[in-house]
Symmetry: C2
Subunit: 403 residues, 2 copies
């Protein structure tokens, strides 16, 4: 039974949200492509956010986190072409000034505006150029502007990433939608991940934050392309209650339906980011089970998913289980090699720490697809964890040779 | 003032050591190339060892570690072509049988023989073929056999790695020599690092172990090609006292001279391994200083040295400091970005967390050489740490696409 249905519109799928995009020319090379976007709620919404855990945090991350303390939020202003990262006190001032100018245009309090940036780092924002375009950006706001906004935040993404669903509730329906930009690492220096989620559900700021935290944990925090974590990673959510339904309380049946929808949107957007990773040819699910703790399962899964050697083998259609066992062995978890089983798409490659009697061509076949699952059973407990990753191709290195 | 002079001979430079190599054909592809080596002391020596910390340990690692508990050691038997890793109880039995057969030929106790293997993993050792060749291997032992032994343990190394020095002591001289094989990751599944050190110094087993531990910490533990750690990594040392000098006590002036020589041999061999890494085009020294603790300095240095994005940038002659700051930020150390300075060969790229006013072409010039130093000053304390690494090239990925 499907609990939701797909709908169009991305961040403008939910009632009471409008979006727009405008061309600024933030980065000289991005001629003609729109590079600044706005997502706004027609009525005051509650906001929630999850930010990079990198100690080096870009100015917009610091400013948006502070602004989120406001009880209400109205809008998110985003730009590509410049990350406003490693720009010192001037960068903070620029991010604040941008939010203030946007708030003035939208006639709302400055702390109701969040800002997100992605692109080159260490270069000052072209503040005046951007500020000049804010009235036009606001004037273009439309209930069908989601697609244009999703496109304007792309950097080296090859396609815009949007997703939205509608959920039936007793006495009405609600929508959750979102847009994201992902794992492009050439043109911005970083693999900045930005995501904006909108919903017309009615719920408290605390409930939204809780739901978002869990959704991010199961989606964006489980994808890895190269193990590097950006200074700008941001997921923001706005809930404006415009669906007119009842207020959703933590733990209620409505909450379960809402979080299912939110998880679905976040997971779909996260998968799109992986699939669109630079020079990526395969989508790989790394499942660890039988771990003694969640932490242990996660460490093993991430070590395997981030091993350069493992990822190179996948790119070469090589079902190399030695490199997987090696990565599991060095990640700091006290595994017992003689207990470990490894499977490619359910086909045993390793049993009890040594080669399983599976013909190699069966394993090669599994790893040759553009999508497969590696399962590592540690046989030490009941904890499990899953991450989603990619192979490492020559094309990836070529694309990342320089900014 | 040089404290030592270079001498020829590798593991046979020191008095009372002989070495040899023989062709077995352990791996079908290695036609004609010698693939089994022996290093033996003419008189009982004391032995010391440092082994992989990977939880997945190859059979020879387990067996050699156990044999090292014996008060005396006589010989190290090494092979390329097969790592005897992930081979279960049969692999352990094979490693023990090999040591026992070698001991019989050499007329010494089985626990006086250590074994090392490198090559394919998950495949049983061709025990009979190897055992048949042991008498020939022993018969070939010679005081000029170091070079042949160093060659026989190569896998995808492009040249044999040997180094030896002589140190003058009051009343005589002593020699420390060694051989190593390195960072080849294509043909063996792993980047196994093997090293054998020999010395005619006279010192106790405990003193030798202590000196070796410190030397490895400053050399082999500071190099990283791709962050992956092998199941077979082994450094063994034998000291036979044949120089006839006084017994070297921990903390004495002679001990300082001995450890300087040992450090020099280990460091030179470690650098050769980095330089000979697969598809490597640059030798990069990553220096972290101003850290609040040694642990913090090490974490930052290793995160930078292992970042896929940082290494790709180096390959492209891109002095990309954003990726370096990013890696420092996500490694778990509580750095303060506004304090961080970054230099390429002493030229400032970052001052106080933002771009330094250095013309970009000066930075490009520094990073374009085949050898440069990146210095990261955290300005939080006095601890420092250095690691030696490489760039990440398309050639590396190509070489590692499959076993």
């Amino acid at each position: 039974m499907t609990k939701w249905k797909l709908v169009k519109g991305g961040v403008t799928a939910a009632k009471g949200f409008r979006a727009s995009a405008v061309f600024v020319g933030i980065k000289a090379a991005n001629k003609d492509r729109e590079d600044m976007a706005l997502v706004a709620s027609e009525v005051p919404a509650v906001g929630a956010g999850v930010f990079t855990t990198n100690r080096v945090k870009a100015a917009p991350v610091r400013v948006s986190r502070a602004h989120l303390r406001s009880p209400h939020s109205c809008a998110v202003l985003l730009n590509s072409g410049n990350a406003n990262a490693c720009t010192g006190p001037c960068g903070i001032a620029a991010a604040k000034a941008l939010a203030a100018s946007m708030a003035e245009v939208l006639h709302c309090g400055v702390r109701r505006v969040m800002v997100c940036s992605t692109g080159r780092i260490g270069v000052p924002l072209p503040l005046e150029k951007m500020t000049d375009k804010l009235p036009e950006l606001a004037a273009r706001l439309s209930t069908s502007g989601g697609a244009a906004a999703a496109k304007a935040i792309m950097t080296s993404d090859t396609y815009a990433k949007e997703y939205a669903v509608e959920v039936k509730l007793p006495g009405g329906s609600l929508r959750v939608g979102g847009m994201a930009k992902g794992a492009g690492m050439i043109d911005p220096n970083m693999a900045t991940m930005l995501c904006v989620i909108t919903t017309d559900a009615k719920l408290s700021k605390g409930t939204l934050q809780n739901a978002l935290h869990h959704a991010v944990e199961r989606s964006f925090n489980r994808i890895t392309i190269d193990g590097d974590m950006s200074t700008n990673d941001t997921v923001l959510a706005l809930a404006n209650g415009a669906s007119g339904g009842v207020s959703i309380k933590n733990g209620s049946p409505e909450y379960a339906l809402f979080t299912d929808a939110l998880n679905e949107v976040c997971t779909r957007l996260a998968f799109m980011i992986v699939r669109d990773g630079e020079g990526v040819s395969k989508f790989v699910t790394v499942q660890v089970r039988g771990a003694s703790s969640l932490q242990a399962a996660r460490k093993v899964a991430e070590a395997v998913a981030n091993s350069t050697l493992v990822k190179c083998a996948w790119a070469g259609n090589d079902p190399n289980w030695g490199r997987i066992l090696d990565a599991a062995g060095y990640c700091g978890v006290r595994i017992r090699e003689e207990l470990v089983d490894i499977y490619y798409d359910g086909v045993a490659a390793v049993r009890g720490g040594t080669a399983a009697p599976t013909p190699k061509d069966k394993l090669v076949k599994a790893v040759s697809g553009d999508k497969f699952t590696v399962t590592i059973d540690l046989h030490q407990g009941k904890a499990f964890y899953t991450v989603y990753t990619t192979d490492l191709t020559e094309k990836y290195v070529e694309l990342n040779l320089s900014e």
